[in-house]
């Protein structure tokens, strides 16, 4: 796969990273190098192989539908600087 400056700028945008021109210049050859190296997995025959999203087959676990203890509102907000009236304060979304 071709990796150029536009690819790096696009990936950074999707990843919500502002890269400076200097960062783009620095990261481009590094990312090219890395992507080329990881592309070798294409050579492995994985016909009829299922993907492993976990290393060990684990049963699905559901807990009983009982209310348990959880963080209080005060605890959940303790690290938020801009919180007020029981809410987190965030930037405007629309």
């Amino acid at each position: 796969m071709r990796v150029d400056e536009e690819t790096i700028r696009h990936v950074a945008r999707v990843a919500r990273l502002n890269l400076t021109d200097e960062e783009v210049r620095r990261f481009l050859p590094q990312m090219k190098d890395i992507i080329k190296a990881v592309s070798v997995i294409d050579a492995v025959d994985t016909t009829d192989t299922l993907p492993s999203f976990q290393p060990i087959a684990l049963p699905d676990r559901l807990r009983d539908d009982d209310p348990g203890t959880c963080l209080s509102q005060e605890e959940a907000l303790r690290n938020a600087k801009g919180g007020s009236d029981g809410y987190f304060k965030g930037p405007k979304a629309v």
Binding site: M1, T7, I8, V11, A12, V14, A15, R16, L17, N18, L19, E23, F27, Q30, M31, D33, I34, I35, A37, V38, S39, V40, I41, D42, V44, T46, T49, L50, P51, S52, F53, Q54, P55, I56, L58, R61, R63, L71, E75, A76, R78, N79, A80, K81, G82, F88, K89, G90, P91, K92, A93
Partner: protein
């Protein structure tokens, strides 16, 4: 020789050691060590003093009574700044304990601080620390790296004159790698053996919490306390927790060892090959039998599969650090996307940015099947390769890292891809969720060499059995 942690706990329980006095000495020493070696991002002296005083007054004198515990910065400790080594989490003071910390404290352990690491675990030398953090130095030669990412944890375990256990974390080798460079034992357990609740995650399907210590018996003690099912982590397994320490000293006759041939190739230093072969011969002398085996898939495709899967998971995990609820928070005059982008761009280090970009790339529409999904299939093939070997062998052995600890100058000359290659021995057992142990295999030219033993899922006891001849007196 330093007392074992288990002996210290015995002394606290029978009243011959005063935990308050002992903790005071420990705090003095870590302040001193930290000035030169940078093992601790935070020292929680007041919390430690209070825990020691409570213990003295009649608190739980359990299996870890009075034992100083250091906790990797990516594992949360209630009331103590926990950043995962990243500037983006500066100021975050958790309101709860990770399960492993809670279990340790229930047994009477004293948490002394949070150890330094590569930002979010993104490194093999602990030089990729977050913006504003200090790089830990090797306890044997401070011009060299501790290894990573649990560098502070391994460095402190070696340098401290007091008995201690460090809680580390591994995603692709971050427990055994620094244990190798710092000449200590470090065990990465089977995936799911130890709860991940309270871990600032890197890659959810890869992360494991495990103990590091000077003595193998203290690693076993640490694992016995931290292991076991936890309802708060849905990937925590309901596997029985054995008395791992009872495997130390067990007869080695009949132990079947597969020596991984590829790990002794031309990329591995001669000193490392010599020390590890001497270790294998030592096990043979104790009655074990060995045979050379091949793991072609693990060796050739482990690094690419690991970096695709690990960074894919990391790139989604790091999305929660949006500068609103904890950690770095600023004025929010701009819109959501602009604010979120600004916080990340200003606070993540270079390696974190590279990994977020690689993971984002591997999951992008049109690319996902060829990278992320393909890597997950290669992972299956690597797991199958190991599983077939474990039908014939109890443990597999290789060097832990292909070389002795490098100097900071040498590391500075490596490209990011060359950094990644440092994990060549360790990524595949991590991808497969297999338990593995660093065994100090001796010194070469004054620097330590580590031998890695890998066992089948849930067979940590075989690792303790194999590590026993190397236990310190």
């Amino acid at each position: 020789m330093t007392m074992r942690a288990s002996e210290l706990a015995g002394g606290v329980r029978d009243g011959s050691i005063d935990p308050v006095e002992h903790t005071e000495k420990v705090l003095e020493e870590i302040e001193r060590i930290d000035k030169d070696y940078h093992y601790l991002n935070t020292i929680c002296a007041d919390r430690a003093r209070k825990a020691a005083s409570d213990l003295k007054k009649g608190g739980s004198k359990g299996r870890l009574a009075g034992i100083p515990l250091s906790i990797k910065d990516s594992i949360v400790v209630k009331g103590v700044e926990s950043t995962g080594g990243s500037a983006i989490l500066k100021g975050y003071v958790p309101v709860f304990n990770a399960t492993c910390v809670e279990r340790g404290e229930k047994e009477g352990a004293i948490v002394i601080g949070k150890t330094s690491q590569d930002e979010f675990g993104f490194g093999a030398f602990a030089v990729n620390v977050g913006k504003g953090f200090r790089i830990p130095k090797n306890p044997i030669d401070p011009t060299r790296a501790t290894g990573g990412s649990s560098g502070g944890a391994a460095g402190l375990a070696k340098k401290a004159s007091f008995p201690t256990i460090s809680y580390g974390e591994s995603t692709g080798g971050s427990i055994v790698n620094p244990a190798s460079f710092c000449d200590v034992f470090g065990l990465c357990p089977t995936y799911g053996r130890v709860s991940r609740y309270g871990l600032i995650d890197y890659g959810n399907s890869l992360d494991k919490v495990g103990p590091i210590s000077r003595y193998l018996s203290d690693v076993a003690l640490g694992l016995e306390v931290m292991a076991g099912h936890d309802a708060k982590d849905s990937t925590s397994a309901d596997a029985p927790v054995e008395e791992f320490s009872s495997s130390i000293g067990k007869d080695l006759r009949g132990l079947r060892i597969g020596v991984i041939k590829e790990s002794f190739g031309e990329g591995t230093e001669e000193d490392v090959k010599d020390a590890v072969w001497t270790g294998i011969k030592r096990l043979e002398g104790e009655g074990a039998r060995y045979e050379e085996v091949n793991t072609p898939l693990a060796f050739e495709f482990g690094i690419p599969a690991y970096y695709i899967i690990g960074t894919s998971e990391a790139s989604t995990n790091l999305a929660k650090y949006c500068g609103m609820r904890y950690g770095v928070q600023e004025e929010t005059a701009d819109g959501f996307n602009e604010y979120f982008t600004r916080i990340r761009s200003e606070n993540l280090g270079d390696e974190a940015k590279r990994r977020v970009m690689l993971g984002t790339f591997a999951r992008m529409s049109g690319v996902r099947d060829a990278y992320y999904l393909k890597a997950a299939k290669v992972r299956t093939k690597i797991i199958e390769e190991y599983k077939s070997l474990f039908k014939r062998f109890d443990i597999l052995v290789s060097p832990t890292v292909p070389y002795k600890p490098p100097t900071f100058d040498e590391i500075g000359r490596l490209t990011p891809l060359q950094h990644y290659m440092a994990d060549v021995m360790t990524v595949s057992p991590n991808l497969a969720g297999l338990p593995h142990l660093n065994i100090p295999a001796g010194m070469k030219k004054g620097l330590p060499v580590g031998m890695m033993a890998i066992a089948d899922h849930w067979k940590e006891s075989e690792l303790f059995r194999a590590g026993a001849p190397f236990e310190r007196p």
